[in-house]
C-alpha cells in the first residue's frame, strides 16, 4: 500500500509534482499514466526516499520508506533503467545489494533465473542492452521479496516476449496480494496490465479510477459535423446538453449525442450538412486529450477534472 498526501516537489521555479494525493491498493496492479515529464518518475523517487518532497508526505506499508528497517523487503523499485555500476557484473551487483539485507546467494541466483539473466549474469553491465538492463532492474527489485513493487516504465526497451513477461509477472505479484505500482506513458500498456489507473499530467492527478471505468468514461463516441451553419447548429445542440468542440470554422465535434439525433435536428432546423461522421475515439485519443488539456489549460479545467477525480475516488473507496 502506498499513500501519498499532498505530495509536492519543486525544482527552483518549476513544479514537477503539485499537491498530489492518491492511494495505491494492494492486491491489484495500479497503472501510473502520464506523458513524459508529467511527474511520474519524480513521484516514484519521492516514494522511495531518493527525492525529498517540498511539501506533503508519502508512506509505504504505513511508514515513510526511510523508516523501514528492511526497505528491500517492503519495496522493490525499478527506477529509470540503469541504476547500476556499469563496471560490475550483473551477479556481483545483485550480491552487493543482497549483502545489505543479509539475503542469501541462493536468492540472488533465483532472481537471475527468474529474469532470464543466466547467460549474461557474469558479464559487466556496461555492455547490456536496454532490455537486459530492465531485466536486471527487475531482478534487483524482486531480490527482497517485497510487499510493494514500484516499476518505472518497466517495458521500455523490452522485446515483445519481455513485455509479455513483465505484464504477467506484474499480474501474478498482485494476485499474491502485493501492491504493484507501474508507470507508463503508453495507455495501451496500462490498459492491458493494470486493474486501476492513476493519470497524471503537469504534476497533477487527472484521473484515479478502475481501468474499466476509465475506459468506459474515456471511450465516448463523438460525431464530426461539417456545415456552413456550424455555429447555429452548435447552439441548438448545446441546448440539448451536447458538448461541442470547435475544430475549425465550419467543423465541429459533438459529444453526448449520436449521429441520428444530430442529423434530425439539422433537418428540422433546415441546416445544411456537408459531413456527418460518427467517430469512435480510441482509448489512446481519450488519454491524449485528457493529458493535452492539462498542458494547454490551467486551473479552471483542472478544477473541473479534480472534481471528477474526487468523485471517482469517493465511489471507489
Amino acid at each position: 500500500m502506498i499513500e501519498a498526501r499532498g505530495l509536492m516537489k519543486r525544482y527552483g521555479a518549476k513544479t514537477a509534482v503539485n499537491d498530489v494525493t492518491f492511494t495505491v491498493q494492494p492486491g491489484q496492479v495500479t497503472g501510473f499514466l502520464g506523458p513524459n515529464g508529467a511527474g511520474k518518475s519524480t513521484t516514484m523517487r519521492m516514494i522511495v526516499g531518493l527525492d525529498r518532497p517540498t511539501a506533503g508526505s508519502v508512506t509505504v506499508n504505513g511508514k515513510p520508506y526511510t523508516a523501514h528497517r528492511r526497505p528491500l523487503a517492503e519495496v522493490g523499485a525499478l527506477l529509470d533503467a540503469k541504476a547500476v555500476h556499469t563496471g560490475r557484473t550483473a551477479r556481483n551487483h545483485l550480491l552487493a545489494m543482497a549483502a545489505t539485507h543479509g539475503i542469501a546467494t541462493k536468492r540472488v541466483d533465483e532472481v537471475i533465473e527468474l529474469t532470464g539473466l543466466q547467460s549474461v549474469a557474469s558479464k559487466r553491465v556496461g555492455g547490456f542492452s536496454l532490455g537486459m538492463g530492465q531485466r536486471l532492474g527487475i531482478a534487483a527489485a524482486l531480490l527482497g521479496d517485497p510487499r510493494t513493487l514500484i516499476l518505472d516504465e518497466p517495458v521500455n526497451g523490452l522485446d515483445p516476449e519481455g513485455v509479455l513477461w513483465v505484464r504477467n509477472i506484474a499480474k501474478y505479484l498482485a494476485s499474491e496480494g502485493r501492491t504493484v505500482f507501474l508507470s507508463s506513458h503508453l495507455m495501451s500498456e496500462v490498459a492491458l496490465t493494470a486493474d486501476h489507473v492513476i493519470v497524471i499530467g503537469r504534476g497533477r492527478i487527472l484521473a484515479d479510477a478502475p481501468v474499466a471505468e476509465f475506459v468506459d468514461g474515456a471511450a465516448r463516441k463523438t460525431v464530426r459535423v461539417r456545415s456552413p451553419q456550424a455555429t447555429e447548429l452548435a447552439d441548438l445542440l448545446k441546448a440539448k446538453n451536447a458538448e461541442i468542440d470547435d475544430v475549425e470554422p465550419g467543423l465541429i465535434e459533438v459529444r453526448g449525442t449520436d449521429a441520428v439525433t444530430v442529423g434530425e435536428l439539422a433537418a428540422a432546423s433546415r441546416i445544411v450538412l456537408h459531413e456527418l461522421t460518427p467517430v469512435a475515439s480510441t482509448l489512446e485519443e481519450a488519454y491524449m486529450s485528457l493529458t493535452a488539456d492539462a498542458v494547454e489549460y490551467q486551473s479552471e479545467d483542472l478544477a473541473h477534472v479534480a472534481a471528477a477525480t474526487s468523485h471517482t475516488e469517493g465511489s471507489k473507496a
Binding site: G49, T66, A96, E113, L114, G144, D145, K171
Partner: protein
C-alpha cells in the same frame, strides 16, 4: 508453480517467491559487507591498488640505487659527511620515497568509490537499499581506510624487501630499533590513508570524478608548489610561511621520512592532526550534502 511467471529466456518455472526468502534488517555490518563486495568487484580497484604498489616499490628501488651511488662516491669521506648523507637518504626515506605519488593514486580510488556511483546511477540502488544513506557512506570510508592502510603497509614492506640488498651493505637500511624511523613509516601509512579519505569526501561533495581528482591534485600537488615558490621569492612575508606549514600536504608530511626542508614546520603529530582535521571537515560536509540533497 504458476505458469504465468516463467522467465522467457530460460523457461524457469519458479515464481518470484518459490519459498520464503529470509530478509534481515539492514545493519552497519551488512552495509560494510556490501561495500566490501562493491570495492572488489570493480576492475578500477585492482588497477589503482596495483599502481600504488608499483609506484611505492619503484620509487624505493630508484632511490636505493641513488643511495648506493652516493655511498660509492663517499668512500673515504669523513664519518661526519657519511652521517649527513645517511640522514638525507636513510632507510625510511628510501622505503617511503613514493608516498606522495601513491597517495594521489589511492586518492583516485577514494574519489571513484563514490563518484563512480553517481556517474553510473548506482547511487540510487545504494540509497534504495540503505535509505539512511550515512551508513553506506561510512561503510565506504571504513572499507577505504582498511584497504589503503593495509596496502600502504604492504607496499612499504615490499619496498624494504627489494631495497634491502642495496642498502644493507652501506648500513643504510631501516633500523627497526629506532622509534623515530618506525614512527615515520607508520606516519606514511597514516598520511596515505588520510589523503584517500579526503578524496572520498571530496568525491561525495562534488559528485564528479574528474572534478574530485582535479581538486585533490590541485590541493596536494599544485598549490604546495606555488606556495613554496612564493616562500622562496618573498622570505620577508611571514604569513606565506604560515600558509605553507598549514597546507594539508606540508603539515601531513611532517610525520613521514620525506618531510621536505622548510624553515618553519609543525611538529609531526600536530601536522598529521591538521591533515586529519581538514579530512574531517570535508567528510562532515560530504555527509551533510549526502543526507540532505536529492540523490
Amino acid at each position: 508453480m504458476s505458469a504465468t511467471v516463467t522467465a522467457p529466456a530460460s523457461g524457469a518455472s519458479s515464481g518470484p517467491t518459490t519459498e520464503h526468502t529470509p530478509v534481515r534488517n539492514v545493519t552497519f555490518w551488512r552495509v560494510l559487507r556490501s561495500e566490501w563486495i562493491k570495492l572488489w568487484t570493480l576492475r578500477s580497484t585492482w588497477w589503482t591498488l596495483g599502481a600504488t604498489v608499483v609506484v611505492m616499490v619503484g620509487f624505493a628501488l630508484m632511490l636505493a640505487f641513488v643511495s648506493q651511488f652516493l655511498a660509492d662516491q663517499m668512500e673515504g669521506a669523513s664519518p661526519e659527511e657519511q652521517a649527513a648523507m645517511g640522514g638525507m637518504l636513510g632507510g625510511p626515506a628510501v622505503v617511503a620515497a613514493g608516498f606522495e605519488m601513491a597517495a594521489l593514486v589511492v586518492a583516485v580510488l577514494g574519489a571513484l568509490m563514490i563518484t563512480g556511483e553517481y556517474s553510473t546511477g548506482m547511487i540510487r540502488s545504494t540509497f534504495a537499499a540503505v535509505p539512511a544513506r550515512l551508513p553506506a557512506f561510512f561503510g565506504k570510508a571504513v572499507v577505504l581506510i582498511l584497504v589503503t592502510a593495509v596496502l600502504t603497509a604492504v607496499s612499504l614492506a615490499l619496498s624494504w624487501l627489494v631495497t634491502y640488498p642495496l642498502l644493507n651493505p652501506n648500513d643504510a637500511t631501516v633500523d627497526f630499533g629506532d622509534s623515530d624511523q618506525v614512527r615515520a613509516l607508520f606516519g606514511t601509512v597514516l598520511y596515505v590513508t588520510l589523503v584517500a579519505l579526503f578524496a572520498l569526501g571530496l568525491g561525495a561533495l562534488l559528485r564528479h570524478t574528474a572534478g574530485a581528482i582535479f581538486t585533490v591534485v590541485a590541493i596536494f600537488l599544485v598549490v604546495p608548489v606555488i606556495v613554496q615558490v612564493a616562500t622562496l621569492a618573498a622570505t620577508q612575508l611571514e604569513w606565506i610561511g604560515t600558509v605553507n606549514k598549514l597546507l594539508p600536504s606540508v603539515a601531513g608530511a611532517q610525520i613521514t621520512p620525506n618531510a621536505g626542508a622548510f624553515p618553519d614546520v609543525l611538529d609531526p603529530w600536530v601536522g598529521i592532526g591538521v591533515l586529519a582535521g581538514y579530512t574531517a571537515l570535508v567528510l562532515v560536509g560530504a555527509a551533510t550534502r549526502l543526507k540532505l540533497q536529492d540523490a
